[in-house]
């Protein structure tokens, strides 16, 4: 037990955790129908990516990883703004619409 308690989390653990988080986010995007919840799942995926960048930055001793995360966060913010704007426009017209209802391109 003591050896277990003394084990330090290595980079691999973080990366695996990030992978799991990413997978959960992916499943969420595919399964949920509410557009806002789908968006949140996308945020989960982005966070997973951020986590892996930071872990690798620490491992490889390169500040570039953290810089990337910085930019990812900025872009995510912008993306959320625009995405929510679009969702608002759609949902104003048709309240209660889900992702499945926006199917005008159906073949």
């Amino acid at each position: 037990m003591s050896s277990l308690a003394a084990a330090t989390p290595t980079t691999t653990w973080y990366l695996i955790l990030a992978a799991v988080l990413f997978g959960i986010g992916a499943v969420g995007v595919l399964v949920r129908r509410n557009p806002l919840v789908m968006f949140m799942c996308i945020e989960l995926m982005l966070n997973a990516v951020n986590l892996s960048f930071v872990a690798l930055a620490e491992k490889m001793g390169d500040i570039g990883g953290q810089t990337t995360v910085f930019f990812v966060m900025v872009v995510a913010a912008a993306e959320v703004v625009v995405g929510l704007g679009i969702i608002v426009s759609i949902m104003r017209r048709r309240p209660g619409v889900t992702a499945d209802d926006v199917s005008a391109l159906r073949g």
Partner: protein
């Protein structure tokens, strides 16, 4: 010690993530998201990315999720989604395949290449217990405003464009009551 921190933070992350995808009420999902984000912030601290942890909490949890909640409340979509039925029968199995596939494959890749990751850069500046507390910020600032200054400028343009675009997207034309 670090193990404890790791396990706790991981638990927060995973519980929050599961919560996002499982909770039918969007407000509950947003709150679960906050839990996840906090967990990630803790992870950042553990990885010597103090500034980013702060940014994570302030921007992500503080601004983005709040924005989500605003929209949820504004549009009144806080009604629960019916998660028991799925109009496309094939969707859930596909989602399972994708999810498990991604997790499994990435884990496999990570595990098999763990010895291939080596030190590349000049190293992270870590604040010591007594000394300068903002070495991380300084190093990060040097990187952003030095090596990546063009990207920085471009992202600032991006932010402006995003704001302008969204305002245009969602305004109502005066008098007609219709959106553009």
């Amino acid at each position: 010690m670090e193990l404890v921190v790791f396990v706790l933070a991981a638990a927060m992350i995973l519980v929050g993530a599961i919560g996002v995808i499982v909770r039918s009420n969007p407000v509950h999902a947003a709150l679960s998201l906050i839990l996840t984000l906090f967990g990630v912030a803790v992870m950042f601290v553990a990885q010597n990315a103090h500034f980013l942890a702060a940014v994570q909490v302030i921007v992500y949890a503080g601004a983005i999720v709040v924005l989500f909640l605003f929209v949820i409340m504004l549009l009144g979509v806080d009604r629960s989604e019916d998660l028991s039925s799925e109009p496309f029968k094939v969707q859930r199995p596909l989602a399972a395949i994708v999810g498990l596939g991604v997790i499994g494959l990435v884990v496999a890749a990570v595990v098999s290449s763990r010895d291939a990751i080596s030190v590349r850069g000049t190293g992270l500046n870590v604040a010591d217990t007594l000394g300068d507390g903002d070495t991380n910020i300084k190093q990060l600032a040097r990187s952003v405003f030095g090596d990546y200054v063009v990207a920085f400028e471009v992202t600032s343009v991006l932010l402006v464009v995003a704001v302008v675009g969204t305002v245009l997207l969602t305004r109502r034309v005066k008098g007609s009551g219709k959106d553009t």
